[in-house]
Every structure is written in C-alpha cells, then in structure tokens.
C-alpha cells in the first residue's frame, strides 16, 4: 500500500475538461520544438516541389506586385515623400506580405489541420508557430530583393538609426499576424463565415495601411482615424529606417506594441479555450 501511495503523484499526464484559461504550457511547447522545425521545413520545401521555378517564386510574387502598384501610383501621381517609387512600394509590399500571409495561413489552423488534430495530440500551437517561422524565412528571402534596389538608388535614400529597430518591428508584425490569425481560427470553428471575411478583409486592410501611399498623404482630419491602424507605424518606421522618410511618433509605436501584445494574448486565450474540444464541432 505504501508503494501505491508514493506513486500517487507520479502521473505524467492528467486529462481534464478545461485546463484553466491561464494555464499556458510553455514547457510542453518547448518539448515539441523539433516538430515545429519539421513543420517549418515541410511548409518551406513542399510548396515549391514540382514547380519549374521553385524558390524563385519567393521573388517573383513581390516583384510583379510591386511593378503593378508602382505603375499605378506613377499614373495617379501619388507623392512618396521623395522616395523612389519602386523602393517605396517594394518595402511596403514585402512587409505587408509577411503580415498577410501569417494572418491568412494561421487563421486556417483548425480547419486545415482537422484530419491530423483528429488523430493525434500535440500542442496545437505548434502549427501556427511553425507557420510564422516559415513565413519569416520567405520574408528574409524577399528582403534580399531589396538590396539591389537599395544599392541602385543609394543617392536618393538616407537610412537611419531606426534600422536597429527592424527586428522589433518584425516581431510586432509576427505577433499581430499570429494573434489575429489564431483568434480568427478559433472563431471559424463556430462561425465559418469568418474564413471568407478574412480573405478579402486582408485585401481591404492593405488599403487602410500606408503600403502604396505614405501616411503623410492623409489630410489632417482623417489622421486620427488612420492612426488607429496599429500596422501603420510599423510600415512607416520600416520605411524611415531603410529609406529615411516616415510619419510616426513614440506614442504610435507604443500603441502598436500594446496592440500586438494585447491581440496575441487574446488570441492565445481563445485558442486555448477551443483547442481541447474543437474536434467535436468541426
């Protein structure tokens, strides 16, 4: 009997109805780090297998997008704070691509992986986290695309000290993409319409963000509304860092930071709330 009693605390796993909203098991996530990396690898490799151009697609997509937008703003003569139009658009597009692909892909976490989730347990957050990381890799590759343009236009641009803040900007962007994405993916389980909403919602959100126009273009009375968009300061600081022009302040950066943390926490909470029982609803 003594042996039995001493065993009582040895349980390695306890499965309970709800594991508490705030009990977030980081250690378990860490144990599955190999799986995260393998998913990153899978996403990265598998996408371009059996394509003619392979990883070249990482370059082609932003290049074509940039070409079209550059043509557009050249025609309607959008002022770009004296920054060469191509560079202006390319920085915006690359940054926006990262955010939108994070958001769109993570928002599909539950529905897109239902067949795996239905068979085997691993921390569900593994999937969206691996998406964020694999997108980060394509973002890094796309950033390489900036280099030849930065060199070609070196006379017209003035990189600033804010270059040091770029990793922080990317982190904020990743947090917002992940937070919003898993929030949406948690809600899509019940309200499937959100999936459709997100597809064109992201498209619309791009026009509400200074991607193909500078924030300085917005007239005074709309500025307050425009500054509600937490993505704007990130794009503006990024441009300021690399090209030397951007409209932002400490307050707006702080606002973006708080928003990023807030949305990530909210997303994780929602995600945790549904991950244990979503298989019953999907």
């Amino acid at each position: 009997m003594a042996a039995l009693d001493s065993n009582r605390e040895d349980w390695t796993q306890v499965i309970e109805p709800t594991e508490g909203l705030f009990k977030f098991n980081l250690r378990e996530l860490w144990r599955y780090r190999d799986l995260i990396l393998l998913f990153v690898r899978r996403d990265f490799i598998a996408v371009y297998k059996q394509t003619v151009l392979g990883p070249l697609w990482h370059f082609l997509q932003p290049l074509f997008t940039t070409a079209v937008y550059t043509l557009f703003i050249s025609i309607v003569k959008v002022p770009t704070d004296e920054i060469p139009r191509i560079l202006f658009i390319l920085t915006g597009v690359v940054l926006w691509n990262y955010f939108s692909s994070c958001l769109i892909k993570t928002s599909n976490t539950f529905i897109g992986n239902a067949s795996i989730f239905g068979k085997v347990y691993f921390p569900r957050l593994v999937i969206p986290i691996s998406v964020i990381i694999s997108n980060l890799m394509s973002f890094a590759i796309q950033c390489l695309l900036l280099i030849p343009f930065l060199i070609y236009y070196r006379q017209n641009i003035h990189p600033t000290i804010y270059i040091l803040a770029i990793p922080f900007l990317i982190l904020l962007l990743a947090m917002m993409g992940l937070g919003l994405g898993i929030l949406v993916s948690s809600l899509t389980i019940k309200y499937r319409d959100l999936n459709y909403l997100i597809a064109f919602g992201v498209q619309l959100a791009m026009y509400a963000t200074p991607v193909i126009y500078p924030l300085s273009l917005i007239p005074g009375r709309f500025k307050a509304i425009a500054s509600l968009n937490p993505l704007s300061p990130i794009v503006e600081v990024f441009r300021c860092a690399l090209l030397g022009k951007g409209t932002f302040s400490i307050e707006t950066i702080l606002y973006s930071t708080v928003f990023a943390f807030g949305i990530l926490i909210l997303g994780v909470l929602m995600f945790r709330r549904v991950e244990n029982s979503f298989m019953d609803t999907v």
């Binding site: 042996a3 039995l4 065993n7 040895d10 349980w11 390695t12 796993q13 306890v14 499965i15 309970e16 109805p17 709800t18 594991e19 508490g20 909203l21 144990r31 599955y32 190999d34 799986l35 393998l38 998913f39 690898r41 899978r42 490799i45 598998a46 297998k49 059996q50 795996i116 989730f117 239905g118 068979k119 085997v120 347990y121 691993f122 019940k190 709330r273 244990n276 029982s277 298989m279 019953d280 609803t281």
Partner: protein, 409 residues
C-alpha cells in the same frame, strides 16, 4: 503492479446541430460556467434538458489499468469506445471527469498521420515521428531500424507519393511500431490490412506487453480479445457495463446483444399470411445454453393456423445470410394436416453453421408443389464465433463451417 491509467468519472457530452448550443445566450452561459470553473450546466440538467440537442457519449466511466496489462475494450458501435479513445489520446477533452496517466501514449490507429506526399520517405519518418511525440534524436537513433523494418530502404529518398500503397503503409507502420510508448492503443487493426499486417500488429502488441508496457485493445473481434487480453471492459450506451475476465465479459456481451430465443408472436388480426395459412409464432431456441455460437445447435419453431384440411402438407425452409446469400434449403416430411393450429420445428445441429447474421424464410406447401404462402425473413439472428486456442483471429469465410470426420496419420 502499479496503476498506469486511472479513468475517473469521465463523461462526454456532444452537442448536436452545427452551431453548438445554437443560441448565443447558452453559449455565454457555458462560457461563464467554464470561466468560473463550474461544472458544465448542460450536463447537470441533462435530465430535463432537451435530449434531442445533446448526446451523452460517455457517462461516468471509471476504470483502472495496471502496468503491463492488455486491456480489451468492447461494445457495440456507438457504445462510446471511440470517444473514450479520443479522450485518452487527448484529441478531445472530457466534459467532466479526469484521466490520469503515466508515460507516453501512442496509437497504432495513427499510422501515417501527417505524411506529406511531396516529402521523401526519410523526411516523412522524421516528421511523422515528431508528430507522434518523438524527438529528432530518438528518431535518428532508430532510423536504420525503422527503414529496415519497413523494407523500403531503396526508395527512402523518393517522395512518398511515388510509393505503392503497400510501401506507404509499411513505412508508416514502421514509424509507429518504433515509438516504444508506455501505453499503446490498438484499435481495430484486425479489421484492416492483410494477414501479414495483422500478424505484425499482434506481434507488436505482444512485444509491448511483454516489456511491461500496457496495451489498450479495442476490437469487435471477440476471438482476438478473448485470446489476447487479461481483462476486458464492456461499454454499453456510454457506460461501463462490466469489467472482468475476458470469457465472462464476452459472454455477457453476447447475452446483452442478441435476440437468442427470439420469439415473435402474432395475434389473429396481425398475423402475416393469407386466407389459407397464417403465422402465429416463430421462435429460435438455443440448445443447451444461452449464447448462440457455432458450437451450439438451435431449433427453429413455428406455429401456423390452417384454414383448410390438407392431405399432403409440408414446409420448405430457406436460410439466408443477411447479405442475401442463400445458405441452404431444407424440406420437411409430408404429413396430412387438419384445419387449425399446426406446429413445426427444425433442428440446425451444432458445428454446422459459420458465424454471421442470418435470416430465415419458411414456405407452407400443399400437394408437394403448391405454395400456400411464403413467409419471408421471419427470424433474424446472429451466430457468434467461438474459437479456442487459435492463433488466427481473422474472418473464416464460407457459407458453412461444419465439423467433419477427419482421418489423420
């Protein structure tokens, strides 16, 4: 022996309908209960709640599994076996109750989960291993063994979409088989795959349990359960109906789930037939026992009401498999019959029939050739398998399975 799995009062409630509770109000009510850590209000008022809207898949299930045991879980479809497995493997959470476990749990059901067609065999071994809970190091250590076991070493750097389905399954199984979990779930493997696959699975089960690890074996194959398990849990309508030694629990499962001695009585108005003959009673009676298995004979008994006298009266009985296959026809002796109640019975001896579901039709005949009426599908019944000391648990096919006189030298 210590307990490795402790299932404590586990219940699982499914809400029916595509939008969960359906109303925002009860969504909020549930969310509130959940946040304040209270019990789910819908389960507590289960008695008065609209039973159509919820389905209780498991109700207060409790049992313990000791280390090194092979525990069988049996029950009809819908008894809650799959739900229990889902909870144990953490795919879904219980609505109330707790499960405590010691060690890693893996399932042979998850064979090939997460295989990506574009990735090579090598990449998929690592990916699949990680999904099943192994670290890269563990997989790397066992990599050669896995490849050897799968027998696809030549194609290990080929994308698995180019594999034959056999190679695919072998590779997937090889990964799962090298997991070395403390607790292994084997779910209905005997129903899928060929004899070779079955042998591999059973070999793995024996291997696992002989190393002091625990196996949960879920199956409809009573022969396999009887021969492989030390203890069996019988689930019925989401509840544990019985726990105990395999033979006893399986017998009780058969008793609960059959219409042996099934008797159909008809009153005068409802009796099937025509103005010449009507069926009043049909009954299956098992000889010496309660369970209809292949080692027991059974008697088919009928009572009819005749409206006329017949000088030459007989029956013709057909037995069909439920799939429609005609197993046999048997004709009764010819007698003379008077108007009124006539009784007929026919004995099907032990060790003749194969296991399966069957249906009986009987024809009343006069003058050896004129059909008075053909009563179709009068009785339906299932004959269970019963094998002692066998090593083969798969299906034995054939319409009949007679015990015949063999002479061996």
């Amino acid at each position: 022996m210590s307990t490795v799995i402790k299932v404590e009062n586990v219940s699982k409630v499914y809400e029916l309908g595509k939008m969960g509770t359906g109303t925002l109000a009860s969504d909020i009510q549930r969310a509130f209960a959940r946040m304040t850590g209270k019990e789910d209000p819908l389960l507590r008022i289960g008695e008065t709640y609209d039973e159509k809207a919820i389905h209780i898949a498991l109700r207060d299930v409790s049992f313990d599994v000791t280390q090194g045991q092979v525990l069988g879980i049996i029950g009809k479809n819908g008894a809650g076996k799959s739900t229990l497995l889902k909870i144990l493997s953490r795919v879904t959470a219980p609505t109330t109750g707790k499960v405590k476990m010691k060690g890693r749990l893996a399932s042979l059901l998850e064979v090939g989960t997460g295989f990506h067609p574009e990735l090579s065999g090598r990449e998929n071994i690592f990916l699949n291993g990680a999904i099943l809970g192994m670290t890269n190091k563990e997989v790397a250590r066992k990599f050669d063994e896995i490849v050897e076991f799968s027998g696809v070493s030549k194609f290990i750097d080929t994308p698995v979409k180019r594999y034959s389905s056999g190679m695919y399954v072998r590779l997937a199984f090889a990964v799962a088989a090298h997991l070395e979990p403390e607790i292994l779930i084997v779910d209905e493997v005997l129903a899928v795959g060929d004899a070779d696959f079955q042998r591999k699975c059973l070999g793995k089960m024996k291997d696992v349990s002989s190393h002091g690890r625990t196996v949960l074996f879920v199956s409809h194959n009573m022969e396999a359960v009887k021969n492989l398990c030390q203890e069996v849990v019988l689930l019925e309508k989401g509840q544990v109906a019985e726990i105990g030694k395999p033979a006893a629990v399986i017998n009780s499962y058969f008793k609960r789930n059959t219409q042996y001695n099934s008797q159909i009585l008809f009153n005068e108005q409802e009796a099937p037939g025509n103005e010449l003959v009507k069926l009043r009673r049909a009954e299956l009676h098992i000889q010496q026992g309660e369970i209809l298995d292949i080692n027991h004979g059974f008697e088919l008994q009928f009572e009819f009401d005749l409206e006329n006298d017949y000088s030459e009266f007989s029956y013709s009985l057909n037995l069909f498999a439920i799939t429609g296959e005609h197993i046999f026809n048997t004709v009764s002796p010819v007698v003379s019959a008077k108007r009124g109640r006539v009784v007929a019975s026919c004995l099907v001896p032990a060790d003749l029939m194969n296991s399966g579901d069957f249906t009986v039709s009987i024809m009343a005949v006069s003058q050896r050739s004129i059909t008075l009426f053909y009563f179709q599908n009068v009785l339906n019944f299932e004959i269970f398998d019963n094998r002692e000391n066998e090593k083969w648990f798969g299906n034995i096919s054939g319409a009949v399975r007679p015990k015949l006189n063999w002479k061996l030298s």
